[in-house]
Symmetry: C2
Subunit: 201 residues, 2 copies
């Protein structure tokens, strides 16, 4: 990753956002977190909106890199790995300040087209990865053939986002939810799940 002035300004934006939140984020705060002057930031970016557009673009790249790092030889392993990236602390790339700021940014979406368009991209990327891994599992015969990958992905996309919102709002852990979703997968996605449950009863 090169550390030219633009990248360095975006890193300073991250630090300023964690510290001050979105509402109080100004070019002045960003300059204070950076080696650059407010004038130099203005040279690269037209204003807060323009800079934040570039910032969300960088964040999107990092987010997709992170979820694409979920690996495994089988769809079942990739599904577990993806949920671990999304829900466990080991998978988290960011602290509480950043998660809080991100929820604040979401609440800005109705008033800000740029933010909304980026959030639609983030949402679509998450949905896409979840749908792909479930579809892979159905195709390989690992998952129940009656599972609808789009429906599972729709539901899990909401669940993951709710887990992140709850983590900020009530400081709730997502670890237990991770266990619950893995349990859900083992019971209801795996091709032999209903069979093994029948045996248990």
């Amino acid at each position: 990753m090169d550390d030219g002035p633009e990248r360095e300004i975006l890193r300073a934006t991250y630090r300023a956002l964690c510290e001050h939140g979105y509402a109080d984020l100004t070019l002045k705060e960003i300059a204070a977190e950076s080696d650059r002057s407010k004038a130099l930031i203005h040279y690269y970016y037209d204003g807060k909106r323009d800079l934040f557009d570039a910032f969300l673009e960088l964040l999107y790249e990092e987010y997709t890199d992170r979820i694409d790092a979920a690996t495994g030889d089988t769809a079942t392993e990739r599904f577990r790995s993806l949920l671990a990236v999304l829900l466990t602390d080991e998978g988290a790339s960011s602290g509480r300040g950043f998660r809080t700021a991100l929820l604040e940014v979401k609440a800005q979406a109705p008033y800000n087209d740029t933010i909304r368009e980026h959030l639609v991209e983030f949402d679509a990327a998450l949905f896409d990865r979840l749908e792909t891994v479930v579809a892979d599992g159905v195709e390989s015969g690992e998952f129940d053939p009656s599972v609808d990958p789009a429906r599972v992905a729709e539901c899990l996309t909401a669940t993951v986002q709710g887990a992140h919102a709850r983590r900020v709002a009530i400081d709730g852990s997502t670890d237990e939810l991770y266990e619950t979703l893995i349990d859900y997968a083992e019971r209801h996605l795996l091709a032999d799940a209903s069979g093994s449950l029948e045996v248990e009863r």
Copy 2:
């Protein structure tokens, strides 16, 4: 519902919140939405934090009344009715302005103990109703006896909150998610679900 000055001030708070959001909410904005003066509001409430505490308490009462209005003769019907209240437009008590403000309020929780305590109550009320209806279904034999009510409730609490966050952030509909969760229930909660799936295959 009586319309004494306190109740009238809290109604004005709702209108001001929908219009201005939480960050820009001041006693002046609330007075402007009300028949009361800023001085009178100060007579009843020490400041924005105190007033907002009372506002969230009223909101909690209305929220629990709304989710407790989910009815049905069987646990399966009550489960469907509860999801309809939580996820469909018919069940919604509030418009987009309010939903947006509520997400903004959630992002304030890490900085504001009063808000966080109220959000913990909201979350617990939702979890409790979901857990109760699933436990009822297991007890009555309608739901699969291997279903863990607390785990299902934990997962659905996150899913419902994620659906609301997505609705604000990307203007996503929750209707499809409602269908998906009803479908999930029919496949995986109902006692005869695995049996009927076996027949389909």
